[in-house]
Structure formats: structure tokens, C-alpha cells
């Protein structure tokens, strides 16, 4: 496949810099002045350490395809605040805007990785959707394992509260772990770091992703498929809460993308059994404190409403025994509401299969998953309401193991979808 050619302005900037050791790729629009301050502080903060001594380029979306973006006007001469630090504006690729604002699209990654390739960097740190990574102790711990310990991909281990990142904890992370056999807690993290050796593989994977019409890129999945060294790094980075996108859209985009990857990579993940833990680097950061309990009534009500109204849709996807268990669950008693892990895992696997078989329209399929997901959230919240963050993490580990134990069910359904399944 042909490699991506950068836009003229970006290309000129890259040629001016010629080569660098480290690329800090900012994958979302940011304010230039804040970026300059944060990046300079972050790089100077590294001191004369091995990372601090690197020739570093900070690439940020500074020019659009047609005209300069006003808010990120930056005098490049002024920006050379450090002799080893350069700022390079790049043109955001034209195309459909991301449906999830905090997740960069594959075409943005493609432009960034092309810059990294042209500059011949040893490591590239991707930062999105804000500058939280530069404002926190992120760069040194993430880049060091890649440069010094020869890991090819470093994924962050965010310190989240027990009610944070639930879509990731309930579907994305455990499903990706069960499929590809690598335990990565945040497989779709917006911030990550990879070595220069990974760039060709990443570019090939991105070309395939874009050719399939997908906009979400899964770096950890690609590294796992290619059996590259992955490590997880404890970071103290806290992104601002996402706003303006409803849950159904996020669920459709992320879970739909993971299901699409499943379909493409079916010959690979069908051979994988169990999972390997990724090496963890750094000191664990205490998670953010959550309230003791949470009001789960609206979510249980949505689940019950879904059961009353969406049976026609669910019956196309789920086998009768699952529907029977959901019927028991939908009884009007919110206190004893409990969705067993095995049942939830089977539901996710059945939805993945229906996505592949196109049993019904994919937008309908993923929309019909939302009430079930809220049911899982309610069940989880009731279970860990008074538990600590560590206990909640153990509970999520149990769920991830249930995904692995349920994989034979997925394999059987995937290979013989027409087989009798009561």
C-alpha cells in the first residue's frame, strides 16, 4: 500500500527540521500559547535525563488544508525556547469529523505517524484530547520504557475511580484482552507512546483501518497481533470529563469499531487462548475518590423499559435462555438487581456475532445494546457501591476472566452460527 503523503505546509516544516529523536504528537486542536507553555515546561522539567537530552519536536494541528487556523498562530522562531525543542504545525487531514471528540480519528494518526516516519524519530508520544498529559508527569515515565527497556508500545494506566471508564471496563478492555490475549487495561487510551520501529506496522494497520471505513484506531490491538512488546505505565494524568456526546453514540462508535476489528481479525484471535499480563512500569497512583453509592434506579428503569420494548430486537440477537434470564432480571426489584458476569459476557459475544452476520441493521444492533449496558452498570454499581477502588478493580478483573472463560462459547457461535442454541 502507498504511504501517506503529507500536506505541502507540513512537509515543508518537516524538511526544515530534517530529523528528531522524539515526536510529541498532539492529536487534537489546542491553544498554541498553552501548548507552548506546557510543552516547554514538560521538556525542561525532564532536565538532563536521557529523555530530556533528546531532540524533540512537538507537532500540533496548526494549519488546515486551506487556511491557517487563527487560534494556533505561533511564531516558530519565538517558539524555539529550548535548543532541542521545536514546534511544528501540521495540517489536520480533511475528512469527516470524529463522532467522539476526545478520540483522534485514524486519518489524524496517519498524518502524525507519517511525520514521525519522515523525521526518523526513535519514539513518538501521542497526546489527546487535551494537554493533561503535558501538564502531568506523563512524558518521562511513558518514553523511558520505549527507549531504554525496548518496549515497542507503552500504554497508560490511568488512576480512575471505580465509576470511571465503565464502557472500557465492561466491554472494550476485557473483550480486547480475551480476543488478543494481552492484558491492556486501556486499549483505546488517547495518550500512548511507541517506538520508531513500530511506525511501519502502525502505518500499515492505519491504512487497513481507513480502507475499511473505520475511524477508530486500536494501537494495543495492532501491537498484540504483531506480538510486539507492550508495557503499561502508571500515570497521573486526568483528562477533563467529556461532554456533548451521548452514551449511545459513544457505545456505537467504540464497540462497533471493536466488533469490526473482530470480524477482520477472526483468523488471528480464534487461535488465541488465555491472556498474558503486560509488564507494568512505574508507581501506582492513588485513584480518585468516588462517592460511596450511586443512584442506579434510572439505569435499572431504562433496562426494564428496554426489556418491555426491545424484546423483538433482542430476540433476533440473543438465544432464548439469555432472554429468559433477562426476563428474571427485569422483575421490578432494584435492590436485588444483579447481572451475572457469565450472562453479560454471553450477551456481548452474541452482539458481536450479530454484528458480523448483519442479523439486523448495525446501528439498530448497537443502539439496542445501550439498555443492556446500563443494566450492567447498575448491577456493578450496586455490587461495588461500598467497596474501595482496589476492590472494584478486583471485581473488574473477575469480569475480564469471565470473558476469557466464555471465549469457547464465542468460538462455537462464531464458527457454527446456525447450530441449535437454546
Amino acid at each position: 500500500m502507498a504511504k501517506l503523503e503529507l500536506a505541502e505546509e507540513t512537509k515543508a516544516g518537516v524538511e526544515e527540521i530534517k530529523e528528531a529523536d522524539l515526536l510529541i504528537a498532539v492529536a487534537a486542536p489546542v491553544e498554541a500559547e498553552k501548548l507552548r507553555t506546557a510543552a516547554t515546561r514538560a521538556i525542561l522539567g525532564l532536565g538532563e535525563s536521557s529523555v530530556g537530552a533528546l531532540r524533540t519536536v512537538v507537532a500540533f494541528p496548526g494549519v488546515s488544508g486551506t487556511e491557517p487556523v487563527a487560534k494556533v498562530e505561533m511564531d516558530l522562531d519565538e517558539a524555539q525556547t529550548h535548543d532541542r525543542l521545536h514546534f511544528l504545525p501540521y495540517a489536520m487531514p480533511a475528512g469527516s469529523p470524529a463522532k467522539i471528540p476526545w478520540l483522534p480519528t485514524a486519518s489524524i494518526y496517519q498524518a502524525l505517524f507519517a511525520m514521525a516516519r519522515d523525521m526518523g524519530v526513535s519514539a513518538c508520544a501521542v497526546i489527546a484530547p487535551d494537554l493533561a498529559a503535558l501538564d502531568s508527569n506523563f512524558l518521562a515515565p511513558m518514553i523511558a520504557p520505549v527507549l531504554e527497556q525496548r518496549f515497542e508500545l507503552a500504554m497508560p494506566l490511568y488512576a480512575l475511580g471505580k465509576f470511571d471508564g465503565l464502557l472500557n471496563s465492561s466491554i472494550l478492555a476485557p473483550l480486547a484482552r480475551s480476543l488478543y490475549g494481552r492484558r491492556v487495561r486501556f486499549p483505546l487510551a488517547p495518550d500512548f507512546c511507541f517506538s520508531g520501529k513500530m511506525i511501519p506496522d502502525m502505518e500499515v494497520a492505519l491504512q487497513r483501518t481507513i480502507a475499511q471505513g473505520q475511524s477508530t484506531f486500536w494501537p494495543a490491538t495492532e501491537a498484540a497481533i504483531r506480538e510486539r512488546g507492550i508495557c503499561e505505565v502508571h500515570v497521573d494524568t486526568h483528562h477533563a470529563p467529556a461532554e456533548g456526546v451521548d452514551l449511545s453514540t459513544v457505545l456505537s462508535e467504540t464497540v462497533g469499531s471493536l466488533f469490526a476489528e473482530m470480524t477482520v481479525n477472526a483468523p488471528l484471535w480464534q487461535r488465541v487462548r488465555g491472556s498474558q499480563a503486560a509488564i507494568t512500569v512505574g508507581t501506582p497512583v492513588p485513584p480518585t475518590a468516588d462517592g460511596a453509592g450511586a443512584d442506579t434506579t434510572p439505569m435499572v428503569e431504562t433496562f426494564q423499559l428496554g426489556f418491555r420494548n426491545l424484546q423483538e430486537v433482542w430476540s433476533l440477537v440473543l438465544p432464548p435462555v439469555t432472554l429468559l434470564e433477562l426476563k428474571r432480571l427485569a422483575r421490578p426489584s432494584t435492590e436485588r438487581f444483579h447481572l451475572p458476569d457469565e450472562l453479560w459476557v454471553r450477551i456481548v459475544y452474541d452482539f458481536a456475532l450479530a454484528y458480523r452476520l448483519r442479523t439486523l441493521s448495525r446501528s439498530h444492533l448497537l443502539g439496542a445494546l445501550t439498555p443492556l449496558y446500563l443494566g450492567w452498570v447498575a448491577s456493578y454499581a450496586l455490587e461495588v457501591g461500598n467497596a474501595s477502588a482496589t476492590e472494584a478493580e478486583q471485581r473488574l478483573e473477575k469480569l475480564a476472566r469471565a470473558y476469557e472463560e466464555g471465549k469457547p462459547y464465542l468460538l462455537s457461535r462464531w464458527r457454527w452460527p446456525d447450530r441449535f442454541n437454546p
Binding site: 467522539i100 476526545w102 480512575l160 475511580g161 465509576f163 470511571d164 471508564g165 465503565l166 464502557l167 472500557n168 480502507a211 475499511q212 471505513g213 473505520q214 470529563p241 467529556a242 451521548d246 452514551l247 449511545s248 459513544v250 457505545l251 467504540t254 462517592g291 450511586a294 443512584d295 434510572p298 439505569m299 428503569e301 431504562t302 423499559l305 428496554g306 418491555r308 420494548n309 426491545l310 430486537v313 448483519r358 442479523t359 439486523l360 441493521s361 448495525r362 446501528s363 439498530h364 443502539g367 439496542a368 445501550t370 439498555p371 446500563l374 452498570v377 454499581a381
Partner: protein, 234 residues
């Protein structure tokens, strides 16, 4: 007298048999035309399928959420296109057969029937499209309404479904030229009546009730909104 009756019966029998005999070539021509065109349709469908598979149209159209897959999820674009080609050729064969039948029988009825066939085909296409659209829209409304935690989700979905179906039925009948004026009138009265009834209900009769209901609905946050406050999903 019995001789006359017998003769009359024999004559009528002979007339019927000769009429059937005159129709037989037409029927045979009809069957042959349909079979011949079915064979052509099969061959053409095979060619089209091979060509589409060759250019990997399913793979190309599968990029992103393509419209065909969304509206007709169980069929691939290749299957849909080959089926359309097959049935179009069979339909042409059917028309050729009818023409041959009409030419051999020189019947006024068959001539009228031939002229009416395009209307029937159009009506069938409308009916199929109307059903697909009704099913898709009703499901979309149902799922969105449930995710918005609307308790009358089923009612909304049924409303949309029947609205599209009634509209389709009116269009089909209009296309078949069956009770054209009555259908138009009935449809206009029905829709006008529904809109007027709703306007009266909101504006006069149930103003307080509706406003209270709307206020209650607006004040009650959706499940997702409540969930978002306490939980961060991503």
C-alpha cells in the same frame, strides 16, 4: 328434441375445445418465453455476480455504514443486485409471454391486462419499499425512544410504522387506480382529522393536562443524563 339437445351440446363442446385449442399455442408460447427468459436471467445473474465479486463490491461498500447494509442487513449488495437483475429479466420474459399469449388469442381482456401490468409492478415495488421503510423507521424510533427513557416508546414506534404503512397503502391503491378519488379523499380526511384532533387536544381540551405532562417530562432527566452525572462511561 333429444337429438337437438345432443347436437347443441356437441356444438358447444366443440366450440370450447376449439377455443382451448386456439389458446394452447399462446399458453405454450407464454411458458416457453418465461422459461427461456428465466434461463437468460440465471446466466445474466451469474455473470453479474462474477463481475461484482471480481471488483469486490461487497468489500468496497462495507467500508463504513453503507446504506444498503443498513436498510437490508441480511443481504449483501452483490446478492441484492443479482436478484434485481434476475427478476427484471424474468419480468421481461413474463411480459413477452403475455404479449405472445395476447397476439395468439386476440382477446380484449388480455390487451387490457397487458396495459395494467406496469401499474401492478409499480404497486408491488411501492409496497415492498413502504414495508422496508416502515420497519426500519419504527425500529429506529423504538430504540432511540428507549435510550431516551421515554415510556411511550412503543406507542411512538407503532405510530410511525402505521403512518408509513397507511401512506404506502394509499400510494399503492392510487397506483393501481383503485378508487382513486375515494382513497385520496379518505387519506386527506384521515390525516387532516388526526392533525386537527391533536391541535384541538393540545390547544383546547387537554391544554392543562398536556402542559403538565410536558413539564413533568422536561423536569425528569433521562436515564443517560442521570447516569452521566455519577458515572463516566469512557
Amino acid at each position: 328434441m333429444w337429438t337437438q339437445v345432443s347436437q347443441s351440446l356437441h356444438e358447444s363442446m366443440a366450440r370450447v375445445i376449439s377455443r382451448i385449442a386456439t389458446l394452447l399455442p399462446g399458453i405454450l408460447a407464454f411458458i416457453l418465453a418465461v422459461l427461456f427468459f428465466a434461463a437468460i436471467a440465471w446466466a445474466l445473474a451469474w455473470l453479474v455476480r462474477s463481475f461484482l465479486n471480481g471488483i469486490r463490491i461487497d468489500e468496497r461498500l462495507a467500508r463504513g455504514t453503507n446504506a444498503i447494509a443498513e436498510w437490508s442487513p441480511t443481504y449483501t449488495p452483490t446478492t441484492l443486485i443479482t436478484r434485481v437483475v434476475f427478476w427484471c429479466v424474468v419480468l421481461i420474459g413474463f411480459l413477452v409471454g403475455l404479449e405472445a399469449f395476447g397476439a395468439s388469442s386476440d382477446n380484449v381482456l388480455s390487451a387490457r391486462l397487458l396495459g395494467y401490468i406496469p401499474n401492478v409492478v409499480g404497486a408491488v415495488v411501492l409496497l415492498i419499499l413502504g414495508n422496508v421503510i416502515a420497519r426500519f423507521l419504527s425500529r429506529s424510533v423504538l430504540i432511540s425512544a428507549v435510550n431516551m427513557n421515554l415510556h411511550y416508546a412503543r406507542l411512538l414506534s407503532l405510530g410511525v410504522k402505521w403512518l408509513v404503512l397507511v401512506l404506502t397503502a394509499a400510494m399503492v391503491l392510487d397506483h393501481l387506480s383503485i378508487g382513486a378519488a375515494i382513497v385520496d379523499l379518505a387519506f386527506g380526511i384521515l390525516f387532516g382529522g388526526i392533525v386537527l384532533a391533536l391541535a384541538l387536544a393540545v390547544g383546547l381540551g387537554s391544554r392543562d393536562l398536556v402542559s403538565r405532562s410536558l413539564e413533568r417530562e422536561a423536569a425528569r432527566p433521562g436515564a443517560e443524563a442521570v447516569a452521566e452525572e455519577q458515572f463516566r462511561h469512557f
